[in-house]
């Protein structure tokens, strides 16, 4: 149980995991300020902003939801965009669930705390005890700080007034670029090239569709493009076509690795 492990734990691997968890929590929590400010700039009020941080609790999906709202997208586009961006959390859950061995309400709590950062810290630990400590401390730390700083950002954004005057509308694009950036590089050169090509094509497609379809649809069309490429693309590191082979599973694990924002 997480409550037993702490910075005072005699196990050095656990102590190290907790230290990592705390520094990741502070770094991630801080950019909750930008989420809160962007959310109210997009037209959500403070309670709605906090509902996203408390209930959705997944940075990329939250930024996407307010981005689509800000662009004038309908409820379907908001749900679909946030949901698709949150799909990777499901894959993280598949990875961390067997490492945590949680059951009952703890399993539900673990699921809610399964995000890029907690998965990254957990899977980087050398021992099972450190893995559990890393997951719970990162998940809980990010949750507390992310929500605290979301609230601060939302209140600040509310007080500032016209978001354009402070360049807050430009901050949204920069936030998405910062979330995308670490995904554009990786060890597998072929997979990385595919990701880059799809990213550029997705941006071009979204811009081309914007004048002709309702708000929110261009972003979903970009996701559809990625699904088609993913379905047609032959393979990853192994270059072979063997479905579910040993090498393929290894490459798959690499691709599922969570990417922590800078």
């Amino acid at each position: 149980m997480p409550a037993r492990s702490s910075a005072a734990d005699p196990d050095p691997a656990v102590r190290s995991a907790v230290r990592t968890a705390l520094s990741v929590s502070v770094a991630t929590g801080l950019y909750g300020v930008s989420f809160g400010a962007l959310s109210v700039a997009a037209g959500l009020d403070v309670p709605q902003t906090m509902a996203l941080s408390l209930l959705m609790f997944s940075g990329g999906s939250q930024f996407a939801a307010v981005g689509v709202v800000g662009a004038g997208g309908g409820i379907g586009a908001v749900v679909a965009t946030a949901g698709l961006l949150g799909a990777r959390n499901g894959l993280y859950g598949v990875q961390v669930a067997p490492l945590l061995g949680a059951s009952g309400w703890r399993r539900l709590l673990a699921a809610h705390l399964t995000i890029d950062e907690s998965t990254a810290v957990a899977t980087a630990q050398p021992t099972p005890a450190a893995t559990r400590a890393g997951f719970w401390w990162t998940g809980a730390g990010v949750f507390v700080l992310w929500n605290a700083f979301s609230l601060l950002g939302a209140l600040l954004g509310d007080a500032l007034g016209d978001p354009r005057r402070y360049g807050l509308d430009a901050a949204a694009g920069a936030a998405f670029l910062a979330l995308l950036w670490p995904r554009l590089s990786g060890d597998d050169r072929r997979a990385t090239r595919t990701v880059r090509v799809v990213a550029v094509a997705a941006a071009a497609l979204a811009l081309a569709l914007t004048p002709v379809v309702p708000a929110g649809v261009p972003v979903l069309a970009a996701a559809a493009l990625a699904v088609v490429v993913g379905a047609l693309d032959g393979g990853g590191a192994g270059a072979g076509r063997g479905p579910g082979g040993g090498a393929g599973a290894g490459g798959g694990d690499d691709d599922a690795a969570p990417v922590v924002t800078p």
Binding site: A27, S34, G43, Q48, A51, L52, M56, S58, V69, G70, A71, I75, G83, L85, G86, A87, G90, L91, G93, V94, V96, A97, R107, H112, G167, L168, A170, A171, G173, A174, A175, F176, L177, A178, L179, L180, R183, V198, A199, A202, A203, L205, A206, L207, T210, A222, A223, A226, V227, G230, A231, D233, G236, P243, G244, G252, D253, D255, A256, P262
Partner: protein, 101 residues
């Protein structure tokens, strides 16, 4: 707006729970994993484009584009997330103060 906020939150939360409950073999196929990574990158790239170069259902070039360029340079220099966002906002605010759209 509340409906969109709650529905989207429920979908994202349900996805997390599903990841912890469904059998491993169902989701951990290389093709599924690869496609999920591509979808994430495509959505983020499309959001960058839409947030930076469109407004009111049309293409729009303004101070946001310069702000994005500054953000890209900051990312190349490995600036932390908060600094990247702040620099972009400051760039757009400055350009607008100077009279750009």
């Amino acid at each position: 707006m509340w409906w969109a906020v709650l529905a989207a939150s429920v979908v994202v939360l349900a996805t997390k729970v599903a990841g912890h409950l469904v059998p491993r073999a169902l989701l951990e196929r290389p093709r599924v994993v690869r496609t999920a990574a591509l979808v994430t990158a495509a959505l983020l790239a499309a959001l960058v484009a839409v947030q930076t170069a469109t407004g009111g259902g049309a293409l729009a070039l303004d101070a946001r584009l310069a702000a994005l360029a500054v953000a890209a340079v900051a990312l190349l220099l490995r600036a932390p997330f908060v600094l990247v966002v702040l620099l972009a906002a400051a760039t757009a605010a400055l350009l607008r103060w100077l009279g750009l759209p």
